[in-house]
């Protein structure tokens, strides 16, 4: 028999959206099995400038929580996003779009990519992303609602830009409504036993005990790192960024439906629109003084920046995300490079792996091993996606030259090699990024495959040209009939869903 009494009290120590997302999910999924969820809330670490630019997967976690998306966007004054545009402000390479959707459509039953590679070799000069309906919709500022035709064509998805403060507060209200208990603390002391954590001491006074603990305290990793002493596997060598400036600027009159990342000679800058403001993030290396970084940020943004603040960034992974009776979530377990906004994705990965392995008795060594194995591989594959961006860059400047020399994992090397050879994407278990994501990234950075799947040679060149024209026409026609992004942002809170 299960022994729910063995793990009845779950204590989450943390702050902001990661802690409250965890609380909502654990309460929703395991409340019925007798789990009681308490959050020890630490002082917020996010500011007006912070935004979660999420991956499409978040929608399914929200659906599990029965979150009304229209209402969430209206309440938090967030926006939708169809992906990111990567622009080279150093002037050496063409921009590219990493869209949350596939590119092209099957031709004569075969994948699109090999047809495109062959067309290029035959001298047809059409950019890969022009065949991406999601990227095209983004360029035209329209949200894409798939109908049957579009679903046959390929897949398309979206994420959100959620301002961090209102999103965290929104989740907190939801958690409290659903029965999560909360304590506030500025400082947390930990009482240890041989089996892990026995309890917490809040601000040197009140005690909170628990059977199981989630550390969502962020980079400081109060429980997993500091109290339990789990070591870090540093990814410092793989990433040139160790400083990040956060600031905000005036909102766009019409918020674009995508993020934008601009590469400058000494770092990069990301712009993410919400309805509140334009969230600006400048990532650079500490060999640039703060004053110069601020100037670079303002120049790259082309905006007047407010409330700029600098934070350090030290990417790496705790070698065990689950130690004893404590699981680290998000930054507490793994700090990513800021490039693709993976903070919330790290939280989601942790939760999704934890749910089906959550202890059913006091003995859970096997669950812990399985969790640590899967989460490690999920984190490392996401890291590789980020490393690829740096390792393959063709931008000008010392920052980027150094980035090109960063160590690359054997898995990533293999992936780049087989893509360069044939356009074949090696796709491992536990990848957060789809094959379509990898195609956009690799082609965007100029990895043009040297050959193609020979199956597409069955399609004669004239037919190939005709089919490619047909795809472009289909995309144009479909995108023209979509409603502008702004229409979805004007929706009345509590009003109709938009049907996804």
């Amino acid at each position: 028999m299960n022994d729910p009494a063995a793990i009845r009290e779950l204590v989450i120590v943390g702050r902001d959206a990661p802690a409250w997302l965890a609380a909502c999910v654990m309460q929703e999924a395991l409340g019925a099995s007798g789990l009681r969820v308490t959050v020890v809330e630490l002082a917020p670490a996010v500011d007006t400038a912070d935004v979660y630019a999420t991956l499409p997967a978040l929608e399914s976690l929200h659906a599990r929580l029965r979150i009304d998306e229209t209402r969430l966007i209206a309440d938090t004054r967030g926006t939708f996003t169809l992906g990111r545009r990567f622009v080279d402000a150093t002037g050496t390479s063409a921009p590219f779009f990493h869209a949350f959707g596939s590119t092209g459509a099957r031709i004569d039953g075969a994948e699109f990519l090999p047809h495109w590679i062959k067309a290029r070799h035959l001298g047809l000069p059409v950019a890969f992303e022009d065949f991406c309906i999601t990227a095209t919709a983004a360029r035209y500022g329209r949200l894409l609602l798939p109908d049957a035709d579009i679903e046959r064509h390929g897949f398309t998805d979206y994420g959100y830009h959620l301002p961090a403060i209102p999103y965290g507060e929104w989740l907190k209200r939801l958690a409290l409504r659903r029965g999560v208990a909360v304590h506030h603390a500025r400082d947390v002391g930990v009482t240890r036993t041989n089996a892990g954590i026995a309890g917490l001491e809040l601000d040197g006074g009140r005690r909170v005990t628990g059977d199981f603990f989630i550390d969502a305290s962020g980079e400081s990793s109060l429980l997993l790192g500091r109290a339990l002493g789990v070591a870090r596997d540093s990814w410092r060598e793989s990433f040139p960024v160790d400083r990040v400036l956060f600031a905000h600027g005036a909102p766009f009159a019409t918020p674009p439906i995508h993020g934008e990342v601009r590469a400058g000679e000494s770092g990069w800058l990301a712009l993410h629109a919400s309805q509140v403001c334009t969230h600006v993030l400048h990532a650079y290396s500490s060999d640039i003084p703060l004053d110069a970084a601020l100037e670079n940020a303002a120049r790259l943004a082309g905006l007047e920046l407010h409330d700029a603040q600098m934070r350090t960034r030290d990417p790496g992974r705790r070698v065990l995300a689950w130690q004893d009776n404590c699981v680290g979530l998000g930054d507490a377990a793994c700090v990513f490079d800021p490039l693709h906004g993976l903070d919330l994705q790290a939280v989601q990965l942790g939760l999704v792996h934890l749910l089906p392995l959550f202890p059913v008795t006091a003995d859970y060594a096997i669950e812990r091993d399985e969790y640590n194995k899967n989460v490690r591989s999920a984190f490392e594959r996401s890291r590789d996606f980020q490393v690829a961006h740096y390792a393959l860059n063709r931008y000008r400047g010392d920052f980027w030259a150094r980035a090109r020399l960063a160590p690359v994992s054997a898995e990533l090397l293999r992936k780049i090699g087989s893509f360069r050879a044939r356009g074949e994407t090696v796709h491992y278990e536990d990848e957060s990024f789809t094959i379509a994501d990898w195609q956009s990234l690799l082609i965007g950075h100029g990895v043009i495959p040297e050959s193609w799947d020979p199956a597409v040679d069955r399609t004669p060149p004239e037919r190939l040209t005709e089919e490619m024209r047909r795809i472009l026409a289909f995309i144009r026609q479909k995108v023209e009939t979509q409603r502008p992004h702004a229409d979805y942002l004007r929706a009345v809170p509590g009003g109709s869903h938009h049907g996804r």
Binding site: N2, E367, E370, S451, P454, A455
Partner: protein
């Protein structure tokens, strides 16, 4: 424009592997860019007693745009919904591994957890297998084509039993009509390039010489090119899978016309039974460490449920694989690359998957030389598939309670691969079966065998507690009734075969 001369692909060996390869290549590749030659020898016979397959074979036939009814008529094919394992856990026990799912996801949580919870809370659910439509159909020797849009009860797929020799003949005609050149002959010499070590050509017994750009080794266990000539090392797995021989014999068809393969555990191995339209294929897979050849032969002949139609043939094999299935400009397909006993009907699947990956990664006529980066990816995919199938096969052996029988004591006591031990521990603890993106074997397949072999988890996933018990009880009853009703209205396998693809004459009665 692309104007390179066609790349010449030489396939060494006929049989299922060779002709599946030739047919797929002829269908997928452009004749102006790839030229295909197959060398086979009539001196080397094929076995042709009956082959059981996996549902993926339907994709292969679809790729070739083969008409199902015609294919089944020409290969004496029948339908297969799964495999019945008898006596594997304990003598007298039996279970089915179906090509279908058990139950449904409720609240996003897998069915086995709901079922185990129902048991633990005294709801007395029906046996696990009764929540699977494919199993219910097998129990009634019934068949119906699955309706994917409206599954009526639970999802299932189907595969075939057929005569592998007839299948190879069928594909030989098919491929020859589409430009594959067939050369009769025995390969006696293989020439390598002095610097690169690539294969440049072959010499046949007749003295004929044949040049090629890319070579596919379908020579079976001899592995003439990949093993013998290029020295891709053999990785032995017989410590996990000790069976090394099989006797195979056809017998007359009986009344028991099952839409499933049967596998019966024996003291020194196991016996297969594959129903075809015109006869039944039988075989005894055994380990010479534990039983003699003569004794194994007698056990097989004593088991037949119809008159034997030929003398039994002895096959020799070893479980294992080549360290590199693709080396230089040569790919091994089928036995030339590795062997896993036919316990889960994976032989043709391994061939099919190898062919599909190979065709996608072939050298281009512009470059001509095989690309190491692509060979590496082929080998990664191949290794992963072999290891996953291997673990699944070992599971059948290690989870047995046939105490006192040397073979079964040996496999139960032997150290298993770490990957399998971990999976078993997770299942025993809480019914958890890890998910693979590539989905092979699927979670439902693992569940069928884990439960079938008598394992029962101690606990279930707490996520299942989200469904109130009275609702769970109601859902289980409804689903159980729906599965039973669905199977009850299916026609018999024999009737479907005779209507779909059978001989015009009435079904022959069994010889008594």
């Amino acid at each position: 424009m692309l104007q390179s001369s066609p790349l010449h692909i030489v396939i060494v060996g006929g049989g299922s592997a060779g002709w599946m390869c030739a047919a797929a290549a002829a269908q997928v590749l452009h004749p102006a860019r790839y030229r295909i030659t197959l060398i086979e020898s009539e001196e080397i016979g094929t076995v042709g007693v009956g082959e059981a397959t996996l549902p993926a074979l339907r994709d292969f036939n679809e790729l070739l745009k083969i008409d199902e009814a015609q294919f089944m008529r020409e290969t004496q094919g029948t339908f297969k919904l799964g495999i019945e394992f008898r006596d594997w856990d304990l003598p007298g026990g039996h279970y089915l591994h179906p090509f279908g799912s058990f139950g449904q996801l409720w609240g996003g949580t897998e069915f086995q957890h709901h079922w185990m919870r129902a048991r633990q809370h005294g709801l007395e659910p029906a046996p696990f297998e009764e929540y699977c439509c494919a199993v219910a159909a097998c129990r009634r020797n019934a068949f119906e084509f699955p309706d994917l849009k409206n599954p009526h009860s639970t999802f299932y797929g189907y595969a075939y039993h057929f005569d592998a020799g007839l299948y190879a003949d069928f594909l030989r005609r098919w491929a020859s009509a589409r430009g594959v050149r067939r050369i009769e002959g025995m390969v006696v010499d293989v020439a390598l390039h002095a610097e690169s070590g690539d294969i440049t050509g072959l010499t046949l017994k007749s003295g004929q010489k044949l040049d090629g750009d890319f070579f596919v080794d379908c020579s079976g266990f001899r592995s003439l090119l990949l093993g013998d000539k290029l020295g891709s090392a053999w990785e032995d797995w017989t410590h996990w899978l000790p069976c090394d021989r099989a006797w195979a014999v056809p017998c007359e068809r009986s009344d028991d016309f099952t839409p499933f393969t049967r596998s019966i555990a024996k003291p020194g191995g196991w016996i297969w039974r594959i129903p075809l339209q015109h006869r039944t294929g039988n075989g005894h897979v055994f380990s010479t460490r534990f039983i003699g050849e003569d004794e194994a032969r007698a056990a097989l002949m004593g088991q037949l449920d119809g008159r034997a139609l030929a003398e039994p043939k002895l096959l020799r094999f070893r479980a294992g694989r080549r360290a590199q299935a693709w080396k230089r400009n040569c790919v091994g397909i089928g036995l030339a690359a590795g062997f896993l006993e036919p316990l889960e009907s994976t032989s043709l699947f391994l061939i099919q998957k190898g062919i599909q990956d190979m065709l996608r990664l072939l050298p281009s006529p512009e470059v001509r030389r095989a690309d190491q980066r692509l060979a590496d990816e082929f080998n990664r995919l191949s290794d992963q598939l072999y290891e996953r199938i291997r673990d699944f096969l070992i599971l059948h052996y290690v989870a047995n309670r046939r105490h006192g029988e040397p073979l079964w004591d040996h496999v139960r006591g032997h150290a298993m691969p770490d990957s399998l031990r971990h999976k078993l521990a997770l299942f025993r603890a809480r019914g958890h079966v890890p998910y693979f993106k590539d989905g092979f074997f699927s979670r439902d397949s693992w569940l069928a065998v884990l439960f079938g072999q008598g394992l029962m988890p101690e606990h279930y996933d707490r996520l299942a507690d989200a469904v109130p018990l009275p609702l769970l009880d109601q859902r289980l009853r409804e689903l159980h009734a729906r599965v039973a009703a669905h199977a009850a209205r299916m026609q018999s396998h024999a009737a479907v075969i005779s209507r779909h693809c059978g001989e015009p004459a009435p079904i022959r009665q069994a010889a008594s």
